[in-house]
């Protein structure tokens, strides 16, 4: 039989590949197989450059510190990888969306710490596209090397899922705007140097039409940050009070009253990011290692068929999630892109919650203590951040448009109801 013929990846062949000349021959034409060297390069880079103390904190499931995020951005910057999503001319990589996804998956797989997304991931691309030359020169380099931190001022106490109902106002007075209002659920505001805000510059007409986007220095007089302590007893999110804050006109992004457009552009970049695929794949790795490490009745939890079945189910769901992301990146779903983004946001949130739920079930009573910094003398050392993640992840199906909002979007945009 034509052995060599089958060796050249006869994808349509019914015969098993063990008869092929070599595995490598057989794997040539998958849409992902062109990235093998690239994945290897990332793994090697992280192995050689991630400081041990940071790796250890990430492994144990703790939220990255500001200093960790800064150091890691600086390290990535030297490699040219700190803003892979930006155009080359601004210090990005020019990679395709698929290659960027492969990059993020491999980074998470190598236990690299997360980066502060508000700079490189969210406002960066907006400034590259709509920013003035001065804004680009002033802000982009400091995002790239990690020296400046950003946060996002979108949500307000009465504008959550209904974002366009926001009430913070900006009134033009000479060469500056005067901003008054309140933002809430602002992640990392207590660490941030800058905030990009949606504010109302026009109170007439449609709610989306009178919104502008502006960049506000967190050190401006009138900006007050108050912590919101979440149920894991941690401080990620804040309330921000803006009282007569003077914002120079040159800090307006693009045109006045066009802020909704820039916000939409920003959220477009979120599309596949909100699936949390890279992080969730690495979360699944952690579940595997927890089940392999933890013991009960003289055996590891990996041999507990009920827990293993839950792991198996999560693996299967993760593969479907991963394929969804690739299909959306490649534009082959045939459904409205807003609806598609809502699908992966909603199911991605459920996956994150389910996996964190399995971590703590695996840990049992050992998940109960509150670990402030992971160095305590009590409890076991398996995964001190697991409970904290479990608790905070109840928010992932709420922020960025609650799952129920995602269903509305799918019904409207996907099913035309």
């Amino acid at each position: 039989m034509a052995r060599s013929l089958r060796g050249r990846n006869r994808a349509g062949s019914w015969e098993p590949s063990e008869k092929a000349d070599s595995d490598e021959d057989f794997m040539k034409d998958s849409f992902l197989s062109g990235f093998r060297e690239f994945r290897e390069e990332i793994r090697t880079f992280v192995a050689e450059n991630l400081p041990d103390d940071m790796r250890e904190r990430a492994r144990r499931g703790f939220h990255a510190t500001k200093e960790d995020m800064r150091r890691w951005m600086e390290i990535l910057h030297k490699k040219g990888w700190s803003a892979p999503n930006w155009p080359k001319e601004y210090g990005g990589t020019g990679w395709s969306p698929l290659k960027r996804m492969v990059f993020e998956i491999e980074m998470a797989n190598a236990d690299a710490p997360p980066r502060n997304p508000f700079g490189f991931h969210l406002i960066g691309p907006v400034l590259c596209e709509f920013g003035t030359e001065q804004q680009k020169a002033r802000y982009l380099p400091a995002i790239l090397d990690g020296s400046e931190f950003w946060c996002q001022g979108f949500s307000e106490p009465n504008a959550g899922s209904d974002l366009a109902s926001l009430k913070t106002t900006a009134t033009l007075e000479g060469d500056h705007y005067v901003v008054n209002g309140q933002k809430t659920w602002t992640s990392e505001a207590h660490l941030a140097d800058m905030i990009f805000c949606l504010v109302r510059t026009n109170r007439d007409g449609a709610s989306q039409g009178g919104i502008s986007m502006m960049l506000i220095d967190m050190k401006s007089p009138g900006v007050t940050v108050r912590p919101i302590i979440t149920q894991d007893m941690s401080h990620y999110v804040n309330e921000i009070f803006l009282e007569d804050v003077k914002v120079p006109v040159e800090n307006l992004v693009g045109e006045e009253n066009q802020g909704w457009r820039y916000a939409k552009f920003l959220l477009e970049n979120e599309r596949t990011g909100s699936a949390y695929l890279p992080q969730s794949k690495s979360d699944l790795n952690r579940l595997r290692s927890l089940l392999a490490e933890l013991r009960e009745n003289g055996d590891t939890l990996a041999s507990n068929p009920v827990l293993d079945a839950e792991l198996a189910r999560a693996e299967v769901d993760m593969a479907a999630h991963e394929m969804m992301v690739y299909r959306i990146i490649d534009g082959v779903t045939g459904i409205d892109s807003n609806a598609a983004a809502s699908m992966i946001k909603a199911r991605g949130a459920e996956l994150q919650q389910r996996i964190a739920g399995l971590w703590i079930e695996a840990l049992g009573p050992h998940a109960l203590p509150v670990y402030e910094d992971g160095e305590e003398e009590y409890g076991i050392r398996a995964s001190p951040g697991a409970m904290s993640q479990y608790l905070i992840r109840r928010a992932v199906s709420i922020y960025g448009g609650a799952n129920e909002i995602q269903y509305n979007i799918i019904a409207k945009r996907g099913l035309h109801l």
Binding site: M1, A2, R6, A11, S17, M27, M318, A319, Y407, L415
Partner: protein
């Protein structure tokens, strides 16, 4: 470094694949109306004229790879054909009467011996029924209830098989049987002396039969593969059937969702279309999500099915099928629910999709069965995506 900048991931169908998809879609929409389907079911689940058309259009050959004299290039083709079959409620047994038994024959590696069988299948002149299920053995692939013993000139088969799909329409039976040297497969003419079929109709309209073998004498050339290989060969058949019916399930889900969206926009209660109620919208949205996730998994299945060894294939197929059939059961259940009372009647098309998915699920292994098969057969540290990396 390999760069893929500005390249597509290559997930889109090729132009040949798109053409095939469009032509099957048109063909089924034109020929296989709901009335045609109902008539076919009344007549026992097989319409010879329709099957001739299917073969003449090359749709059976499109499912066979080139090195088995078919037209399939990428391996995606049978999935495209079967998705449309599921969409149109086609009951003719492309999977159970052709692809699954063919996979058993392919797994023997004896291409020349079975070349004529394949050709006759592709021209629509031949169907095989894969007789493996036995009374009260669920999905156990190791035969016990049918035994084969060597005689002077060949073999004698005795025993019983259950709910053999496609059997009423098949020309020959591909039978698993226990021998002293382990499980083996036999190709038995349906009209052989001692073969008795008790035919029935399944809930999805497919014809099936319980089969009794009483001192059935066949020649030594009836043996397919070697004694002892029977379970492995059946596994190949099971994997093919389990994989291909996923495509039918996705087509059926797609149709069920469309029917339900249409119904919800037409049906009025409390003075307005029920589609205007958020409770209904959210259920429809979740059905749409499950359909898309099933589609994504089907693409993974089509991309990876013909990679890797048969042992890897079992875990791969099972993991994917566990997801797809879970999605399918969810979608058709909600589809019936949203139709209200009419949804559980024989008159409503939606109930036929409900039955179709249920039948596909139970015939080739339901979600839970395949999750357990995936769980126990997967290799530690690999995931379903591994073969694509």
């Amino acid at each position: 470094m390999t760069t893929h900048d500005d390249e597509s991931t290559g997930l889109a169908l090729s132009s040949d694949e798109s053409q095939l998809q469009a032509s099957v879609e048109r063909f089924i929409a034109n020929e296989y109306t709901f009335d045609h389907y109902r008539a076919t079911v009344r007549e026992g689940g097989f319409n010879k004229a329709f099957w001739k058309q299917v073969a003449d259009l090359g749709l059976v050959a499109a499912c066979f790879p080139e090195d088995w004299e078919g037209y399939a290039q990428s391996g995606t083709e049978p999935f495209l054909v079967l998705e449309q079959f599921g969409y149109g409620l086609v009951v003719e047994p492309l999977v159970s009467g052709v692809l699954a038994p063919a996979a058993v024959l392919v797994a023997t590696g004896e291409r020349d011996r079975f070349a004529s069988v394949f050709n006759e299948m592709m021209t629509g002149e031949r169907l095989l029924a894969l007789a493996w299920a036995e009374p009260n053995r669920r999905f156990d692939l190791a035969p016990e209830a049918v035994k084969a013993s060597q005689t002077g000139g060949g073999w004698q088969l005795d025993g019983e098989k259950s709910t053999v799909l496609a059997a009423p329409h098949a020309d020959s039976l591909l039978v698993s049987a226990a021998t002293v040297d382990g499980p083996a497969m036999f190709l038995v003419p349906k009209d052989a002396d001692g073969v008795e079929l008790v035919t029935h109709r399944n809930i999805d309209g497919q014809g099936a039969a319980d089969i009794h073998f009483r001192q059935v004498a066949v020649g030594s050339d009836a043996l397919v593969g070697k004694p002892g290989e029977g379970e492995a060969l059946m596994r190949a058949g099971m994997n093919m059937g389990a994989a291909m019916t996923c495509a039918e399930a996705v087509g059926a889900m797609d149709a069920a969702l469309k029917l339900t969206v249409d119904y919800a926009q037409t049906r009025k209660q409390f003075g307005q279309a029920i589609a205007s109620f958020q409770a209904i919208q959210h259920r429809l949205a979740n059905m749409a999500i499950e359909l898309e996730y099933a589609r994504a998994m089907l693409q993974l299945l089509a991309t990876g099915l013909f990679r890797g060894s048969e042992s890897d294939r079992s875990a791969f197929v099972s993991g994917i099928r566990a997801k797809i059939m879970g999605c399918a059961r969810f979608v058709v259940s909600d589809a019936v629910q949203l139709h209200g009372g009419i949804g559980v009647t024989d008159e409503a098309a939606i109930s036929h999709y409900f039955r179709k998915v249920t039948a596909l699920d139970l015939a080739w292994g339901d979600s839970r069965y395949h999750l357990e098969r995936y769980r126990t057969e997967r290799k530690a540290g690999t995931d379903l995506m591994a073969s694509l990396y």
